[in-house]
Every structure is written in C-alpha cells, then in structure tokens.
Amino acid sequence: MLALLELARAHAPLIIIAAPLLGAALCFATPSARATWAVGCVAALVSAVFGVDMIARVAAGAVQPHADEGAPLRLDGVALFAAPLLSVSSVLVFISAAARARTEWGPRAAPFAMALLCAALGGWQAALFANDVAVLILAVETAWLAMAGLIALSARTDRGALSGALRMLMAGGVGAASALLGAGFLHRSIGALDFAALIGAEIATPALASVGVGLIIMAFALKALIAPLHLWSGAAFGRAGGLAALAMGAIGAIGAMAALARIALAALSAPAIADGVAAALAALGALSVVIGSVQAIGARSIKRLVAYATAAQAGCVLMSLALGSPAGVAASLLQMFAQTAAALALLGGAATLGGASSLTALDGLARRAPLASAAMSIGALSLMGAPLTIGFLGRWRLLEAGLGAGWAWTAAAAIFASLAAVFFGGRLIERLYFRRATTTVHQSRDPWRAALAPALIAAIAAIAWGLEPSWLLRSAETASHLGAAP
C-alpha cells in the first residue's frame, strides 16, 4: 500500500491531470446530480492532495522536480505552484456547488455542469504540465470550451448567459487561431515546439519567433482577462450564474494566467527574443492595470467588478513576469494566489445573494448576512493590498522587484491598481456596512452554509497567509528559481 502511494506521489503530475479528467468522464455517464457532485469533489480532492504534497515535498527539498519519462509532461516552477492552487480552488468551488448546483443549473443539467467543471480543471492542469506548445494550446482550448459550456448552462436562470457563452466561444476561436498560427511560426523558426527546445534556444530568425510567441501570448492573454483583450468578460461574468462566475474567476482566469506565465517565461529565457517579449509583456501589463482598474471603478455588478479587477491584477502579474528575475516570478505567483483568494471571497460571498448581483443588492448586507459581508470585505481589502492580507504581500513583492530592477514605472502602475482598488473596494465595503438595504434579496436556504464556505475559507486564508506567509513565500521562491526549466 505504501509502495503504491509512493509510486503515485512520484507521478503526481499525471494524477493531478488524470483525476479530474476521469471525474469528468464519470460525471458524463452519471445522471444523478448528487452522485456527480460527489465524483467531482473526489476528483478535485485527489488532484488537490497530490498537488499540495508535490509542492510541499519540493519546497522542503525532499525531492527534486522532474518530468515523467515517456509522458508528455513537464514540471516547471509555474506548474509546481499553480497546479495545487487550481486544485484547491476547485475543491472549494465544488463545496459551494453542494448548495447551489441544482438551483443554478437544474437537476437535469447539474451532472453536465459537474462534468464540465472537472473537464475545465483537467484541461488547465494539462496546460500547466504540457511538455510542448501544441499540447499546451490543446489543453487550454479544452478548458476554455468547458468553461464556455458552464456559462451557457446558466441560461436556465438568465438567458443572457447564452450571449456571454457565445462571446467566450468567439473570443476563444480567435484566440485558438492566433495561438495555432503562432505555434506554426514558432515551429518554423526553431524547428520544434517543445519547451526544452525554446528555452535558451539560439534562434536564427528571431523576428519570426517573436511574432509566433507574441501571437501565442496574445491568445492566452485574451483568456486570462488581460485588457484590452478581455471584451468578452463583461457579458460572460455579468450574466453567468453565481457558481459559473465563481468557477471562471477562481479557476478559469487563474489557469489562463498560469498558462500565459509558462509560455512567457520560456520565451524570456531565449536570449534572441527575450528583450522584445519583456517589453511587450510590460506594456500589455501596464495597459491592463489601467483599463481594468478604470472599468472596475465603473462596474455596477459584483461579478463584473471582479472580472475587471482580475484584469487589473492580471496586468500586475504580467509586469512581474516581464521583470524576468526570480523575484519577479515569485511576485507573479504570489499575486495569482492573492487573486484566487480575493475572487473566491468576493464571488463566493456574492453567490449567497441568490440571483442578485447588482451592487445595490449589497446595501446593508452586513446586517442580514454578516459572514458573507465579512468574507467579501476581506476579499476587497486583499485587492486593495491592505496590510496583513495576502494581497499586500503580492503587491509588496512586485514593488520590491520593480524598484530593485530599476523599473520604477511598474511600481507606479501597481500603486495605481491599489488606489483604484481602494476606490471600488472601499465603495463595496461602504455599501455593505454603512448603507441601508434598498432591495429585497432572496437568500437561498442553506443550513450547512456550504455556499458560503469557500468564501469564508478564502477570507481566512487571505488573512492567515498575510500574517504568516513563510511557507507560501518559500514555495513561491522555490518555484521562481525553477522558473521555466525544471
């Protein structure tokens, strides 16, 4: 038994991918909503356990990271950090689904939704461990289609979700075409598509390689909500059901950011194209920070607010990656973690509002739903970068890395993001605590508070890891030194 366990631990990346994909297959074959929920939970849990074990052992120096021989998998720094993060987020989303899946998707569609959720997780995990760019693109598209299906299933409660899903599909199609074209250019330039060939490659035609990498980065940036390529996100998030939006924010966006980080780091380690890629990432990141922040200030629904705030945060992640240093990579990973916690807290708390998502529905919510309000407030504080939250740590690391590299303008952009977050986060907190209720909100019966659990767990994690982040910092630093190469 122990030997089997050790064997499984040694092949953790394979299990992290296979468990949710197997779960998806089982869910498709099972008509019962409860049974598929249980299958999905188990699949996500297995993926999470192996993921956390993997990073804990590598961070402790117990094992050296390596790719499985014979399998098209590659374990780099981003995968090491992001894979457990995605799996744990998925577990929390499944917990939330316990109370809301039947309400949101209906008893007949709920099994399909569970299957799509598992497929999305499996797709993003496969993207994180893919050995070459082609598999990476395939995995990303698989996950994207699953997420679009999840949004579409929300049409039961809001027909507008179909419009959001359609926009996702159209954007995804453009992204897929762009990525494939980019992969073609890259293959033409360096003769291969695997990461090992790209890293440190002596590229004879850097212009072609740059265009290829650029197209792939743009494709993934579109999926990672990087502004101004995120035009699909307003409709998709805004009209999606609570659970679908939660899955998009906590799994989809983070998975896409992590996939983008992988390709970006690989390109940054190729000397011939590194400077151009860094400049492009930095410019795109700064633009995303500004546009996302401004849009978040004007957002009228909590889901759109989170979508645009994610765009701003994704911009910070891009700027961190552009620095090209281990400090920058660590900062980007910490910010992904912070964004996940904030998205879970905000969207998880908002999911308890029933179908209401307008900001006015939050007025005076602190009196009616104190726990949900507390979770959302902590999520907002983390987005602001308030001290003693995990968001502060991510922001601090970016400022430190940027100033250390002499890129003072990245510090200015990060400060702008924080100031904008103070504005829209502060307005959200003001509504929760300092206004009287103006609308009647139907809160679903949920005696076990399952829908609220992810939000509370994420909020507690945001504070706990803000107070004592040593393990998280160690993990991020280990992953950053791994970088693009195992």
């Binding site: 602001m384 001290p387 502060f392 250390g404 400060i415 100031l419 300092f434 107070l467 982040p469």
Partner: protein, 487 residues
C-alpha cells in the same frame, strides 16, 4: 507587571473596551463605566511604560512576520512612550467628557461613537509604539479605518460625503505615497526598523533622499500638509467627541509622531542629503502655518476655526522636524505635546459649551465665560498655549522652534513661526477675552442646572495640563535625548 505585559495592555485595552462597549451598550451607565474604565486602564499602562523607559527599561513584542526581516512589532522608546502617554491620559479625561456629552446632547448611537473613539486611541498608541515602518503603516491604516465611521457618524449626506473624502485622501496618500516610500526604504536598507541614528545613514544618495522625503511627508496626510489638508477641514461636521479624537488625540498626533519617527529613526543625519526638498517643504509648511491661522480668523463656526488652528500647530511640528537638527526635533516634540493638550482642551470646551447652551459660533460665545468660569478659564489656558504665551506649554515649544530655526540659519522660518503665533492670537485671543469680559447673556443654558461637573472637570484638568511643560521641559530634554543620538 512586566514591560511586555504593560505594552500588550496598552495596545489591547482600547480594542477590548470598544468591543465591550458595543456589546454592553445598555444600560447607559454600564456603557459609560466600561468606556471610562478601559481608558483609565490604557492610561495606567502607558504611564507605567513611560516610567519604564525613563528608567532605561525596554520591551518589544512581535505579533507576526509577514515579510523576511520585517515583523509586525511594537516596542517602547522615548518618543513613542511620550506620545502614547499624553494621548492616553488625555483620552481618559476625554472619556469622562464623552460620557457627559452624549447624555447632554442625546447623541445617536453613543456606543458606536465610543467604540470608534476607543479604536482611534488604539490606533494612535499603535502608531506611537510601532517598532518599524511596517508596524507604523499597519497602525496608521487601522487608525484611518477606525476614525472613518466617526466622521460619518451623523449619517446625513454631507457627513457621508465628508467621510468619503476623509477616507479617500488619507488612504490614497498612504497607499500612493507612504507605501512606495516604505518599499524603497526596504530596498535601500534591507530592513524597516526604527533605529536611533537613522536607518538610511550612508545608504541613500541625494536624489533618493529628496524623493523619499517628499513621499514620506505627503504620504503622512494626517499631518494635514497642503494640498492634502482638506480632510481636516471638512470633517468638522462630526460630533464633538469624535473631533477631539481626530484633531487632538489620535489622527493629527499620529501624523506628527510619524514624521518625527521618520526624521529621527529613518533618515537621521541622512536628512541633510535631502536639503532641496526639505527647504522646499519648510517654505510650504511655513506659509501653510500662516495661511491656516489667517483662514481661521474668517471662520465663525468654532469647529472650523479650531480645525485651522490645529493645522497651524501641526505645521509647526513639521517645521521643527524638517530642520534636521536635534533642537528642531526636540522643538517639534514639545510642539506635538502642546498641540495635543491645547487642542483637546479647546475642542472639549467647544463640546461642553454646545452641550450646555447649544451655541456653536464664535460670536455667540461672548459673555459665556461669566456663566461658565471654569470652562472658559480652561479655554483661556488652551488658547494661550496654542498662541505660545508663557508660561504655557506652547510657549516653550515655540521658543525652541524659533531658536532651532535661527540656529539652522533659517531666520525666515523663525519669522514665519512668529507671524503664525500672532495670527493664532488674533483668532483665539479675542474669543477668550470676549467670553470672559463681556456681559453675560440671559438664559443661555439648555438645561436649568447648567453644565454638569463631568462637562467641566475634564476640560479644567486638560487645561491645567498645558502648564505641565513649564515643569517638565528640562527632564523631557534628557528623556528624549536618545532621539537624536546614534547608539
């Protein structure tokens, strides 16, 4: 009791008091006893710590370690102990006064206001005892968030607008300016600890020092340095007990002690590298000092007049801190103590007068001193201290300030300080004089028994505190000596 335990009590007692006041808000007597009791406990703890520091004792507690080489830590040292003690002792008097005001005024949500005042006190003490820039930043942010509901307490549209402006200005300045300055300091020095002799000594070039100084001074918007001073003047719609916290005991003093700590413990002698910006800031605060005193003359509402008067004194603190001399630091520290005692006296008097008579305008104060002699005696003491008339505490502070400015070769700064003192007399002197000299108005009181003892005694004691520097000026100079000497 160990020093560490006393430090924990000083930090935790106000928070615990706030929680209990909220939970046990009825009956009103219990609420008041809790509020006053915890204020007294806090004052006792800070007095204990001040004695410990005077005796060479030390204490440090670390609550968390959010970054490498950076802890959320609090420690005792002379400057922080002085500010915390003055704040806590005056807050204890203020607690008595608050209990009386909320009853006399029939204040809405008194428990919520008392809790806010207690949390503000906790924030101020946290700022005073912060062991490094990170802890200072955390306590500073906590103070902003704790006092924001106080500004919005009246809960009408104008108070909510004022509160949003208050929050936006202070948060934006701290995140947009103070935080980058902290990160930059960390990048230069590898740590954020407050060190006698300066953290940046020998580690900062001229350009960095100048930019850092500007970021720190404007980042500390609680100091009300223009153009980030509007939060002070538009928050005057808050209830009187809240205004005492904001202007006299917590918010403005937090900005003042922050600048002092940064001048002494972060820059130290490296402040001389930032000559360009420090000279520019000296001009700015000198002009602001005079302008605020002048604007105060035009304000009839006493709350607004006192807000601008407090701004004048706050600029005097900044003037002393920016002189980059030990004498300047000492003058600024004395000025901060004088500001706290005088401003709290004056604002409590304004609260007592409004509670007893319903009067708010300066013109309506004429003759009230004949009917409320003790109250207006305290007002006269506080005004004299604000002006800088001997033998009150403000006089020693102004004397040292002018001397330090002259020693630094900045005679014009000394002249500006003198002009500001004259203008302060212009907006406070006639007010005190007319209150005491003019014939008393007929039937001014809202209640037949006039002003109860709890409205009068705290202001008298607070006014008497403005005389204390007469006695303690020399011992304070020895007590504060570590502020400007390297270890």
């Amino acid at each position: 009791m160990s020093n560490e335990l006393a430090l924990m009590i000083a930090l935790a007692a106000p928070a615990l008091g706030a929680v209990l006041v909220t939970l046990l808000s009825k009956p009103p007597g219990l609420r008041d006893v809790i509020h006053i009791g915890f204020a007294l406990i806090t004052a006792g703890a800070t007095l204990f710590l001040m004695v410990a520091v005077a005796g060479g004792g030390s204490a440090r507690i670390a609550l968390a370690r959010p970054l490498p080489h950076v802890e959320l830590a609090f420690s005792i040292e002379p400057l922080g102990a002085l500010m915390a003690t003055v704040s806590a002792v005056l807050s204890a008097l203020h607690a008595f006064h608050t209990a009386a005001v909320v009853r006399a005024e029939g204040e809405r949500a008194p428990a919520r206001m008392m809790a806010g005042v207690s949390l503000a006190s906790m924030g101020a003490i946290g700022v005073a005892f912060s062991a490094n820039l990170f802890s200072f930043f955390v306590a500073y942010q906590a103070l902003i968030l704790a006092t924001f509901p106080l500004v919005a307490h009246v809960d009408d549209e104008s108070s909510r607008r004022a509160a949003r402006n208050y929050l936006a200005t202070l948060l934006a300045a701290s995140i947009g300016l103070l935080l980058p300055a902290m990160v930059w300091t960390y990048a230069l020095a590898g740590a954020l600890d407050f060190r006698p002799g300066g953290l940046l000594g020998g580690r900062v070039d001229t350009l960095s020092a100048n930019v850092l100084l500007a970021l720190y001074v404007f980042g500390l918007a609680m100091l009300a340095t223009p153009p980030l001073h509007r939060w002070l003047t538009i928050s005057t719609g808050a209830p009187y007990p809240a205004l005492v916290s904001i202007q006299a005991l917590a918010v403005v003093p937090a900005g003042a002690v922050g600048l002092l700590k940064i001048s002494a413990y972060v820059f130290g002698p490296a402040l001389h590298e930032a000559t360009i910006v420090s000279r520019g800031l000296l001009v700015l605060v000198g002009i602001a000092m005079c302008a605020a005193a002048l604007i105060a003359l035009s304000k009839q509402d006493l709350r607004e007049r006192l807000a601008y008067s407090v701004m004048t004194q706050s600029m005097a603190v900044a003037l002393g801190a920016l002189l980059a001399l030990p004498a300047g630091l000492f003058a600024a520290t004395l000025q901060m103590v004088a500001l706290m005692s005088a401003a709290s006296t004056l604002m409590m008097v304004a609260g007592s007068v409004h509670a007893a008579t319903g009067r708010r305008d300066a013109a309506s104060y004429a003759g009230l001193g004949r009917l409320m002699p003790w109250t207006f005696a305290a007002f006269a003491l506080g005004s004299a201290s604000m002006v800088g008339m001997p033998p009150f505490s403000g006089a020693w502070a102004k004397l040292w300030l002018i001397t330090a400015a002259a020693d630094a070769g900045l005679v014009w700064a000394a002249v500006l300080a003198g002009i500001a003192a004259v203008l302060t007399f212009a907006h406070l002197g006639p007010l005190a004089a007319s209150a005491l000299a003019v014939r008393a108005p007929e039937d001014p009181f809202k209640r037949p028994d006039g002003a109860p003892i709890m409205l009068v005694a705290p202001v008298v004691l607070s006014g008497a505190a403005t005389l204390l520097l007469l006695v303690f000026a020399d011992p304070l100079s020895r007590f504060l000596a570590p502020l400007w000497s390297a270890p």
